[in-house]
């Protein structure tokens, strides 16, 4: 769920935009270096952004019976790296605002921070940690994408709680309120997205293991997740 256009007070909107802009600049710098070494990556990033946009339009069944859409945060972070996800996410979120009126321009920075910065870094960190602890590839992918999804919504709850603290309980009560509301839909969604990403990586490992090895996601001797 994106924060809607105009929902955040102006100082919060500007603050989150500045915070996210620094990560986008870092991401662009990293991508530029990568393109200098591997020029074919230039096209890959644009195509990957279109892929993320289309992915967000897919309907995913949720345990509560409702439907939602995958964020693609964890999948993108594992495939393209967390740093590259900030510029890709900026384009995807901008297009969602301009083509679907989903999210917004004034809340672009806040949505970018939760979905394209916190989510991908959590996914990459958890994946690396789980692989370091010798967990299986499938479990590592599941944990990385599920927790990335959850952390995205925890961040959104924190952003909303900071902007609208509870008159009685302050930030913590407001955070509990927003997190509880989101949890009803987001915990089942995170589990669904984790399972979906494992199925995706299983199919990739089966039909295209070389690409996964090239991205250092699969060790040379591991073929199937």
């Amino acid at each position: 769920m994106h924060i809607m256009e105009g929902f955040l007070p102006v100082e919060h909107a500007i603050g989150w935009t500045l915070a996210s802009a620094s990560f986008v600049a870092w991401g662009l710098h990293a991508i530029k270096k990568r393109i200098d070494e591997q020029p074919e990556q230039r096209m890959l990033l644009g195509v990957a952004a279109a892929f993320s946009f289309v992915l967000s339009a897919l309907k995913l069944p949720s345990v509560t019976g409702s439907c939602s859409h995958p964020t693609g945060t964890g999948l993108g972070a594992l495939l393209f790296g967390p740093v590259a996800m900030a510029p890709i996410g900026a384009v995807v979120l901008l297009f969602q605002a301009l083509l679907l009126a989903h999210g917004g321009l004034t809340t672009l920075g806040a949505n970018l921070f939760s979905m394209a910065i916190v989510g991908p870094f959590v996914a990459a960190g958890i994946f690396r940690l789980a692989r370091g602890l010798k967990r299986s590839f499938a479990l590592s992918v599941f944990l990385a994408t599920s927790l990335a999804d959850l952390m995205t919504y925890v961040t959104t709850s924190a952003q909303l709680a900071w902007a609208f603290p509870d008159p009685l309980g302050g930030f913590s009560a407001s955070f509990a309120k927003f997190a509880t509301i989101f949890a009803i839909t987001q915990i089942p969604l995170a589990i669904s997205e984790g399972l979906l990403t494992v199925v995706i990586f299983n199919a990739l490992a089966r039909f295209n293991p070389q690409e996964l090895r090239d991205m250092k996601l699969l060790p040379a001797n591991e073929v199937r997740a």
Partner: protein
């Protein structure tokens, strides 16, 4: 896409995107400058009227474009009206002090900002907005990602639609378990296409000796200066109205 259809077929298609961007920006400033919900509602109403009467967008199409956002706004605003009381026994949800006032304040501000966004997107195609961002000195690499993304998303949408239909015809979405499995197969196939299409695009660019930015023909707007002056005056009026009524 509904918004893109309106953007290409509205009465102000030939008006400079810079002018429409300027007016939308003034709309955002006016909404955030408005100190009372009544003023914010008035600004939102004016932006709506400009979009409907000026650009000739039908009310039905406008409401269809706004409906998902309005649903999210209603849900989001309602959560602001309530507070959590963490008492001795268990947390209690009740109407917050000034909760309704906060709901109205944030709701009307968000409604106004949505009206400004819809004015821009329903009157200006995305290719024109990308050209506008180029003139505003957005980093070239980010623009390249945008251009490629815009051109490829329709290709991927068609691929998703065809795969989805083929899977549905074989009962691939008959249950939740099958849905996850089919979606996994669909996304994995799409992921492979990402590499294949990116590689094909790279080869095509190399075959044309491309080693710099991707350039495409952009539309030429003859009356940009005049359009910007009109938009500037109208936008300034909107901001003055918001401040004057505050």
């Amino acid at each position: 896409m509904l918004i893109e259809q309106s953007a290409y077929s509205n009465r102000w298609r030939s008006v400079s995107p810079a002018a429409k961007g300027l007016f939308a920006a003034c709309g955002f400033v006016a909404i955030f400058a408005a100190k009372s919900p009544l003023t914010a509602t008035l600004v939102a109403g004016l932006l709506l009227l400009v979009t409907l009467i000026g650009a000739g967008i039908t009310l039905g199409r406008y409401l269809r474009a706004a409906a998902p956002a309005l649903f999210f706004l209603a849900m989001g605003s309602l959560s602001l009206a309530f507070a959590v009381d963490v008492g001795d026994n268990r947390p209690l949800l009740h109407l917050a002090p000034n909760g309704l006032a906060k709901l109205v304040e944030v709701g009307t501000r968000s409604l106004g900002a949505l009206a400004a966004l819809l004015f821009l997107v329903l009157t200006t195609p995305l290719v024109d907005l990308i050209a506008l961002l180029r003139s505003l000195r957005t980093p070239e690499l980010l623009l390249e990602i945008m251009v490629l993304c815009y051109r490829m998303l329709f290709v991927f949408s068609a691929a998703v639609h065809e795969t989805w239909n083929a899977q549905s015809a074989r009962l691939g979405y008959a249950s939740a378990r099958l849905t996850i499995r089919s979606l996994g197969g669909l996304t994995a196939n799409l992921t492979l296409q990402v590499w294949q299409r990116a590689h094909a695009l790279h080869l095509a660019a190399q075959a044309r000796n491309n080693d710099g930015p991707l350039r495409f023909l952009e539309a030429n707007f003859a009356n940009t200066g005049r359009d910007c002056r009109v938009a500037g005056v109208a936008g300034a009026g909107l901001i003055a109205l918001a401040w004057g009524l505050a």
